[in-house]
Subunit: 126 residues, 2 copies
Amino acid sequence: MSTEAEPRLVEQWRAIQSAYLKTSNALDRELSARHGIGLNEFETLDLLAEHTSEKCRMKDLTADSPMTQSALSKIVDRLEKGGYVRRAACAEDRRSLFVELTDAGAKLHEEAAVTHRELLAANLQS
Amino acid sequence: MSTEAEPRLVEQWRAIQSAYLKTSNALDRELSARHGIGLNEFETLDLLAEHTSEKCRMKDLTADSPMTQSALSKIVDRLEKGGYVRRAACAEDRRSLFVELTDAGAKLHEEAAVTHRELLAANLQS
DNA sequence: GGACAGTACATGACACATCATTGGATGACA
DNA sequence: TGTCATCCAATGATGTGTCATGTACTGTCC
């Protein structure tokens, strides 16, 4: 709240902003070039890969992702069209849908994860 | 490069991502609600306000902003339509355009800057 | 001074995110 | 059981960003 704190906040914000934009642009560019998916697609695959033990509903994705429900629906559309993901009916609650990685999706995720980590290493100071 | 460094990188990345998205969403939302401009519009006004001593060409904006030249052209369109900014011919180089804050633009910037700092304080840990 | 590469900005086509809404399923309660 | 509020997911309209390109001007080099 003090007036003197403000310049530091603005600096801190610019640092975050710059780090985020630089890194996410690099990630998006390289993931697209090497694997044909954008950053948001990759992160969705990543969520699915973490959820491997339990079935993952659309609403679980929505809960764990910063993206909108609407956006996730369209991302899953694209992933499904690419054959990386499959929507499966949910017997217990017919409003819900399970989303599962296909084998191709698991493979893609594994490969793209290498690129992902590589770029984080290159763009973030450790 | 070491394998052990990777989890830390991923954590660091998620922290940046989360801080950025949370803060930029809050900024965008509040700036829109209270002042009718988005975050990128505000940051463009901010650049113009800093450049106050010298005239600012479109290309200076492009150099100082993470945005694309194309995006800036459209942002300036919107700001101009709102009466916050004015494009002025540049006699020395007729390809160039000066971009100047109008009085309304300076006033808007001043007001919005308060909101901006307030939200930074609320969203960033200091 | 004429040709031409390079620069400054605008614009059109396109990608993708959000918001608002819809359709269908569920659960609670009279 | 019928009604109704709520929930899950998809979809259409819209806004805004990028890329590729167009238009106009500049400066250089012959």
